[in-house]
Amino acid sequence: MNEKILVIDDDPNALRFIEYTLEQEGYQVLLAKDGLEGIKKARDEHPSLIVLDVMLPGLDGYALCQQLRQKPETSLLPILMLSAKARQGDKDIGLRMGADDYLTKPADPSVIIAKVKDLLAGTSQIISKNPDMEKSQG
């Protein structure tokens, strides 16, 4: 079964680029052009991973990430932040808000694919490292 990846970005070109890149790797790609749509799809479509832009109109990527982490069904969902915000401070905020990794635009397609694969593969490892999560799994 192809894993579902949700891409949230307000730039249609960016969406198109990531969609094409991930589809080429065989993933099923869902698109959302703003935060509200993203949160809805993350809840309803049960994606295996989210590629999340930060500068979104309305609800931005940081806030979205925080909200997803607070919801049990998405608290463990791997989130890859992909943002044009390139400062170290921006990256730190993203990780603190619950992102699993942070990539800066423009990003090489192969780097994106590598990160996605890493995150999907590492899900079980992250869980095993966290006793609370083990408990809730059990």
Partner: protein, 779 residues
Amino acid sequence: MPFKAKRRASNPPRRKAGSKLLSPTLDCSPQSELAEELLHTIYDSSPVGIYVLQDRRFQYVNSKFVKRTGYSKDELLGMDAMGLVLPEDRNMVRESAIEMLKGKRFSPYEFRAITKAGEPRWIIATVSSIHYRGSRAVLGNYMDITERKRAEEALQENEEQYRMLVEDALVGIMNVDITGKITYVNKSILEATGYSWGEMVGKNAFSLGLISSEMVKTLRKRLKEKLMGQPPGLLEIQCKRKDGEWIWLQIRGKVLQKGNVPVGIQITGDDITERKQVVEALRQSEERYRTILEEMEDSYFEVDLGGHFTFVNNATCRSLGYSDKKLIGMSYKKVTLENDIESVFQIFNEVYRTGKPNKSCLWTIVRRDGTHRLIEHSALPLRNDKGEIIGFRGVGRDITKRKLAEEALKTSRASFHNIVDMSADGVVVTDSNGVIRFVNQALESLLNHKADELLGEMFVFPVVAGETTEIDIVRRDGKPGVAEMRVVETKWDGETAYLASVRDITERKQVEEKLRELDHMKSELISNISHELRSPLHSTQGFTKLMLQKKVPDPETQEEFLTIIDEQIERLGNLIDDLLDMSRFEAGRFSIQKRRTSVRDVIHDAVGSFDCLAKESSLTINEDIPASLPEVEADEERLKQVLSNLLSNAIKFRQDSSPIMVKVENRGSELLVQVIDHGIGIPAEAMSHLFEKFYRAKDTMARGGTGLGLYISKQLIEAHGGRIWAESKPGKGSTFYFTIPKPKQKRKKIGEILVAAGLITRRQLEEKLKKQQDGNIRP
């Protein structure tokens, strides 16, 4: 007949041997009638009273005796002799007579007898024992000494009085003989000199050390002159007391004479030491006052009741410019400013009426050279011995300079107040306790209180010298503001005080706040620009990498991606243009190239650039442009840029597929262009910020962009001499308006007509126009 009686006497007194008063050999016996007769004759011619007693009774009295007693001869003969003696003296007379008769006493005795008339008379008498008519008898000599006695008594009394007078006189009296030896001094002299009687009397007056050697010379000379008969004169000499103290004596000498021969000098003297001291003190005091009066800077003068000078000191002369001779007798009116004469009169009049001095009155004097001086005077009453006011004294001080200095100070204070009051900064002075002593107008308005409400009150803010603090104030419009207060220590009326200058920094604070916001906006912008630049780069690079990595075999997809790359590059280009424009505006290096332009063409072009987008997303842009439209002077590219900006905003915020309208109206001197959309509209709070640079609406309005589009549009329209504004209803849509002024060609046309008519050459016209233009540009 006296002898008759004797004859009658049966027992004549026995003749006593040894009786010596009368010749004892004289036999007065009756046997010798002749002898008795002779004796009686002799006795009667004697000036002395003579009588003969036998058994104490008169046997014989001569005529002198009869005369003295006042009795007749017959009455006396046979009378007891004691009957003539004053009873108190009878014993004394008896004893004296017995002693004399016994030969124990030889000197006559004195007693008081009584005449027949009862008058007492002083008598001197002697008795002796004789034989008279065969028997013993007493022969008495009798002399009336009453006159002499009285004279003696009077003299004695006089002398006693005189002696006491001299002795106790307050005046010192000293007698010296012609050699200078002191023969007499009275008590006063002893008291004055401190010597005793024994120490003075018998000594030489000049060698006592009483008088200085110089004085001795003078006195010796005087003494000589005195003795030569010079008239008496007063002399003041200084004497040394026994205790060494010097005293002053005023002496007068009088020559003492015995017969016509001078035997000495009587010196009378008064101790005038105290008087001398008083006089000396008075003299010194007078001299002191005179010195003060003459040396002092203040003028001192005295005037009579009529206002005429009776005394002036040097300072008065200097002050008025007249000599004292000229001033004495001059009326004060002559040296008083005419306007002041009445008030000066009133001042002295009041002093006269009340008797109280006026210690501070001002009037202006006129000097001899006509210049004026302002003098501060004290006016005092001048009284005579009886305490009556006979004039006035005045003391004056020239305060012209002080007055001028005061005036200058006042002026300088006034101008200082002016400056301080005009100052935009509030100024407040408090004393060391924080009580307000001064505020200027600016502070009144800063604190929203009047000066009289503030003075004397505690200043609400703590003042600490050297500190600068920010305080909250209420501004005149009632809104809160911020002021900066600087405090320095100063002096106010000679006391430590604090001067606080209070500056309303509300605007500065707002500017600072704005700057902070701007700063924040700038970093936002950088972040935005970075994002805006990265986003197209991101997709461009992404698609490029995909293709380079041969991951896009499909030609159609390739074309799709290349189109996106193309668009994104253009977007980057526009973005960079915007940033450049902005930096040009900022640097003031922006200019437009005006040319004759058809607004219709520009609108067509701008709308045309969205054709591509319109086709893709069912976008409709309508144009409503009048058929005949004058050309305008404009920069075609810039005008198109403005339209593209407005259209792209309209497209960005449209709802559904509602059409967008571009409308042009020809309105008087300008063309009005409107871009109308039916999009989401603009929230009210955003309206005022729309045309500010970096302003980007939040939330729903946040659609990317640099926040520079409308700012640049505004700059461009204003550079064309037009205006730009917007109206909007949230949810209904917005309309952006701008105007472009129509060219004013009148002047140029006239010029052209003139050229066409051949009245001026084209070159002349151009020069003229150029001149005018230069003239307009010149400030």
